[in-house]
């Protein structure tokens, strides 16, 4: 059964559309990320769920109850902010206990719950510190504990890791997911960082210009993007073009090489220009001395224009028929990466080719 239903939400600021036709149904305990660039409407949508913005149209139903017009303090929705928003005049303990105090919980129980939360965020020793005495990561952990202490029905996280440095961000990301799964709390996470969204979420809502582009699992979003925007925004995409060798066929000619696609180009005439897209990791570079070994794969010759060694991954910039491509391959200690100026063979599966027309 759907636990949180966002039905046909619309929000305007003057004549500017911030959110339009937003529909989402979440089950209890699900972790959904709103992913999109700035101005895509993801934060506005979250703020409508929190009650800080009133939708101009549509309804929000939480556990069977219409909360569209309910005040934020009556919604039982916890929120974590990008800027932590800890109360500077209160200690860590008092910050975590703030929501519990407002719910008129007996003091002894508040103390117990605060202890439990401090244990959960592994900050038992720091309860008497003030926010100004904590690092950014610690402050955000306290903000998370404060938000979940009153046992909200939904947890909202508004770019909670944006203000932290990369290493802490990755660590805290794992902590957030672990805590969310341990508590089984229904969570909405707003981010513009695709890696964050993909690594944390059960499902991702990709948004652009106030509209939902696609809702799906990270796997589906990445591998079968529903729109060109999703394909371009999630991950890196290479665009290649070639001419169709025969009407309605599945083979393109790029330079002097034929490339097979997974599907036939129905309705397209011979010699028409066809674009298709490839993920960098779907391409495997081989030395040109290797003969094309697998007839099921496509092979293209490319000139290496740059190599970036990233440790586990080697990223290459190559050129195929005047089209720049990005190629990612795992580091192989027994085979050093090619040098700038080398010629390589790029192998890829026809199934990895995503047609621009299709997306």
């Amino acid at each position: 059964m759907d636990f949180l239903i966002l039905n046909d939400l619309r929000k305007l600021y003057g004549s500017a559309v911030a959110v339009e036709q937003f529909d989402l149904r979440m089950s209890r305990g699900e972790f959904v990320s709103f992913l999109g660039p700035s101005g895509s409407g993801k934060t506005t949508t979250m703020r409508m769920v929190a009650g800080f913005e009133n939708p101009d149209r549509g309804t929000i139903v939480l556990d069977g109850m219409d909360i569209t017009n309910l005040q934020p303090n009556k919604r039982k929705v916890g929120m974590v902010f990008q800027s932590y928003a800890l109360f500077p005049h209160l200690t860590v303990r008092d910050n975590i206990g703030f929501g519990l105090m407002l719910s008129k919980m007996p003091k002894a129980e508040i103390g117990k719950r605060v202890d439990e939360m401090l244990g959960l965020i592994q900050m038992t020793e720091l309860g008497q510190r003030f926010p100004s005495q904590l690092s950014g990561g610690q402050q955000q952990r306290v903000a998370l504990a404060r938000a979940i202490a009153p046992r909200p029905q939904v947890l909202l996280l508004d770019e909670p890791l944006s203000a932290l440095d990369a290493k802490i961000r990755v660590g805290l990301r794992a902590e957030i997911r672990a805590i969310q799964q341990a508590l089984g709390i229904t969570t909405i996470y707003v981010t513009h960082d695709q890696e964050e969204a993909m690594s944390l979420s059960d499902r991702v809502v990709v948004m652009s210009h106030g509209r939902v582009e696609q809702v799906g699992t990270p796997y589906a979003i990445y591998n079968t993007p529903a729109t060109t925007f999703v394909a371009g925004f999630v991950g890196t995409l290479n665009v290649l073009q070639g001419t169709l060798t025969q009407t309605g066929g599945d083979t393109l000619r790029i330079g002097s090489t034929n490339v097979r696609l997974a599907t036939k180009m129905e309705g397209r005439k011979a010699d028409s220009l066809i674009k298709f897209q490839l993920r960098p990791e779907a391409i495997t570079p081989h030395p040109v001395t290797d003969l094309p070994g697998n007839p099921a794969l496509n092979y293209l010759n490319a000139r290496v224009e740059g190599v970036t060694f990233l440790g586990a991954v080697v990223r290459m910039r190559v050129n195929v028929n005047d089209s720049p491509l990005s190629v990612d391959t795992f580091n192989n200690p027994r085979m050093p990466p090619p040098q700038k100026g080398d010629t390589v063979q790029l192998a890829f599966d026809p199934g990895a080719c995503m047609s621009v027309a299709a997306v």
């Binding site: 929190a50 009650g51 800080f52 005040q71 934020p72 303090n73 009556k74 919604r75 929705v77 916890g78 929120m79 902010f81 800027s83 928003a85 800890l86 109360f87 500077p88 005049h89 209160l90 200690t91 303990r93 008092d94 975590i96 206990g97 703030f98 929501g99 105090m101 407002l102 719910s103 003091k107 508040i110 103390g111 605060v114 003030f130 903000a143 404060r146 938000a147 009153p150 909202l156």
Partner: protein, 277 residues
């Protein structure tokens, strides 16, 4: 070389601070010296004794205490009333109606353009006859006085509170508190006010100092020299050394207030942080 290490800059700064300090301290010292010379050729506290003990008649307490108590009471009510009105208003303008900020800024300095005597006559004309005959009772007149003081101190209180609010992220703090279940009153009382401690202290101090020594409104609304300002003026007309003693006492009172308010402010923060153990 930074200005901190530049000896010329340093000594210029010292000179400026010294001149400013002397400008403030020298009149106080001469006033204090004068207040001790009630007895010819002898330094004595007679002027102070006179202030503390002179009674209008054999039955009533010395007027110094009654007038001071009255004005202090009015000042405290003014602090409470002005904070009650100005803090939520300024908060709301900053949080929800930032477009009205310029209007509020302009409105807040209007009391500077209205002389106290105009306000006093305006009050007397408006509130002496029905249906708003507030001056018929002491409580009604006191209400008018507090209202007048609130208007008079508005520029200081508004500026102080506004500066305090701009120093904190009220939007996020408010939303954090709201998402945790706080109503508006809780947001202002438990989240915003504690973070405005310094602003509220300074606003309260200015309000107290202005209200305790105010003369025009107090004298027109309470012509029986009930207020401290009226009392000082009356003493000034009839005595020589006592007004100097009163001035020194007033300064000491204000400074005592500063220390007390700071102590109370610090104490309240410590109490708050000790809630959850």
């Amino acid at each position: 070389m930074s200005s901190k290490n530049n000896p010329i800059t340093y000594w210029v700064a010292v000179a400026i601070v010294t001149i400013c300090a002397l400008y403030l301290i020298v009149p106080l010292l001469t006033q204090f010296d004068f207040s001790l010379r009630m007895k010819r050729d002898v330094l004595s506290l007679d002027a102070y004794v006179s202030v503390f003990t002179t009674k209008p008649n054999a039955v009533d307490p010395p007027k110094f205490y009654t007038s001071l108590l009255f004005s202090a009471g009015m000042a405290v009510l003014t602090i409470a009333f002005s904070l009650l009105v100005i803090v939520p208003t300024t908060f709301w303008v900053n949080y929800r109606l930032p477009k009205f900020k310029p209007v509020m800024d302009l409105f807040s300095v209007m009391p500077f353009a209205i002389p106290g005597i105009v306000l006093a006559f305006g009050y007397l004309r408006t509130y002496t006859s029905p249906p708003l005959a507030l001056t018929n009772t002491d409580a009604g007149t006191a209400f008018l006085l507090v209202g007048g003081y609130t208007v008079g101190v508005m520029p200081y209180v508004y500026r102080s509170v506004d500066t305090g609010l701009r120093a904190i992220d009220i939007r996020t703090l408010t939303e954090a508190a709201r998402s945790l279940g706080a109503g508006w009153a809780t947001v202002i009382w438990k989240v915003i006010m504690p973070n405005l401690r310094a602003a509220v202290i300074s606003a309260s101090l200015i309000t107290f100092a202005v209200a305790v020594g105010e003369y025009t409104l107090a004298n027109f609304l309470f012509p029986d020299e009930r207020a401290f300002g009226s009392y000082i003026a009356a003493i000034g007309r009839n005595r020589i050394f006592e007004p100097a003693a009163l001035t020194i006492i007033s300064y000491l009172l204000v400074w005592a207030c500063v220390l007390a308010v700071q102590r109370i402010g610090r104490g309240s923060t410590q109490t708050q942080t000790a809630v959850i153990r």
